[in-house]
Each structure stands twice: as structure tokens, then as C-alpha cells.
């Protein structure tokens, strides 16, 4: 099982959009990493997100791969994640932080 943490601003994606996003993220993981995805949603209430000390609407999607990923492949996955996220939430690429981590080695 691949873990994915999604820090999302409340109101940025309606429940329906979040369900679509979850399906697309799951398909993304299955297609690219060959395994199912466990999504941990962390909705940020209005007034609880800040960038540079100012209120912000940034979101974070952080996925831990089930195998080490080379950098070219990682960058491709990151760009696909951000594109998917932007398409479904309507936010710009400047509002999305994406992380694709290798699995822990300890």
C-alpha cells in the first residue's frame, strides 16, 4: 500500500471533486507504481494556512513511493501529480507543493 498525504484547503475542492481526485490519485499510483493508494486527507480550515507568514491557499500532496525512483521518473510523476491536482481543484501550480519520496530505508 502506498501512502499519500493530502493537505487541502477546505472549500478548495467540494466533496465530489475530492472523490474524483481520490480516484485519479489511486489510478495514478496503480498505473505508475503498481500498487493501491492509501490517502490521508488533512483538510485545512479557513484561516489556518499561511505562506510567508500571510494567509494562503497552498495545498500539499505528498506520496511515498513503494520503490526507489530515479530523478527523471520522479520529476515526471511530480508534474503529473501537480497537473492532476490543479485540474481537479482549480488552483494554480503556484499553489501546489508535491512530494514524491522514496520508501524509508531504516
Amino acid at each position: 500500500m502506498i501512502n499519500c498525504m493530502c493537505v487541502i484547503q477546505e472549500g478548495q475542492a467540494a466533496d465530489q471533486a475530492r472523490a474524483v481526485l481520490a480516484n485519479k490519485l489511486s489510478a495514478f499510483a496503480q498505473e505508475n507504481l503498481g500498487e493501491a493508494l492509501q490517502i490521508n486527507w488533512a483538510p485545512v480550515a479557513p484561516g489556518n494556512g499561511f505562506t510567508a507568514g500571510q494567509p494562503s491557499t497552498s495545498s500539499v500532496v505528498a506520496l511515498t513511493a513503494n520503490q526507489p525512483v530515479d530523478q527523471a521518473r520522479r520529476e515526471q510523476l511530480l508534474r503529473e501529480l501537480v497537473s492532476m491536482w490543479s485540474d481537479e481543484t482549480g488552483c494554480s501550480v503556484d499553489e501546489v507543493v508535491a512530494v514524491v519520496s522514496d520508501p524509508a530505508t531504516h
Binding site: 490521508n40 489556518n48 507568514g53 500539499v60 501529480l81
Partner: protein
């Protein structure tokens, strides 16, 4: 990135303390590391599993770009704990901060792979050049 996640007991933070803590964390990170403020994200949760509180009233987990010294990471954590005590008025032993690292190359932000620590100026210049090229095309 960095991303600082602050978890608190329900009602421990009011709406005025959160902006103050967010600004303090931003200032601390930038002072210690020299990173630009625009990279610093702070989000707040209450009684959330994302950062376990254990016996604390407030717990902050910061995920920063890999490459900082142990001293810098300790300085950040200690200064954040002091800021939590000051702005949330909790007892010192009820405020905890920890720092984790992630390689910059694992993170995409602003549409680009994050720069290594110390390479921010080149990153901003390259990003601006790309934006201008897109605008002119």
C-alpha cells in the same frame, strides 16, 4: 517547502495566535537558514492524527530541505518551541517541535523542482526567465 504542521489541543490556539505563530515560524526558519519567506508554509490543525500530540498541548513538525546542519535544526526546533510558549502561553514542557528533512529534488513547488539550500537565487532567476519566455511566446 519547508512545511510546518502545527497540531494543538482543541481550543489551545485562538484566531489571533495562529498568524503570530505562523509569522514567528517563518522568521525563525528564514533567519536560521537564509531561505526566502515565500518557501515557508505553516498549517494548523486541532486534535489531528497528522502530528501526534502525545502529552503536549502543541506539537509542530517541520519538514525542511535536506542539507541543514544539526545545529541549525536544533536552533529552529528550540526557537519554535519558545515561540509557541510565548504566543500560545502554554507551559514549556507542553510545546514540542521536531524537524525532518526531505531532499529538495523530491519536491516540486511553483511548478519547478525545489533548489538545493543556497541555490535559491539561481532558481528564482531561472523561474523568472521561463515565465518571461512563456509570456513572450
Amino acid at each position: 517547502m519547508p512545511l510546518y504542521i502545527c497540531n494543538s489541543q482543541k481550543g489551545a490556539l485562538d484566531d489571533t495566535s495562529k498568524p503570530a505563530i505562523a509569522q514567528a515560524i517563518t522568521d525563525i526558519h528564514c533567519t536560521v537558514t537564509g531561505a526566502p519567506p515565500i518557501f515557508v508554509h505553516v498549517v494548523f490543525f486541532e486534535d489531528a492524527p497528522i502530528v501526534p500530540l502525545q502529552d503536549n498541548t502543541l506539537a509542530v513538525r517541520g519538514t525542511i530541505r535536506k542539507g541543514r546542519s544539526d545545529q541549525q535544526k536544533d536552533d529552529i526546533a528550540q526557537a519554535i518551541e519558545a515561540a509557541l510558549v510565548e504566543h500560545a502561553q502554554v507551559e514549556p514542557h507542553r510545546a514540542h517541535a521536531q524537524i525532518r528533512e526531505t531532499p529538495a529534488s523530491w519536491v516540486l513547488e511553483g511548478g519547478e523542482i525545489m533548489p538545493e539550500p543556497g541555490e535559491e537565487a539561481e532558481w528564482f532567476a531561472a523561474q523568472e526567465a521561463r515565465r518571461q519566455a512563456v509570456a513572450e511566446s
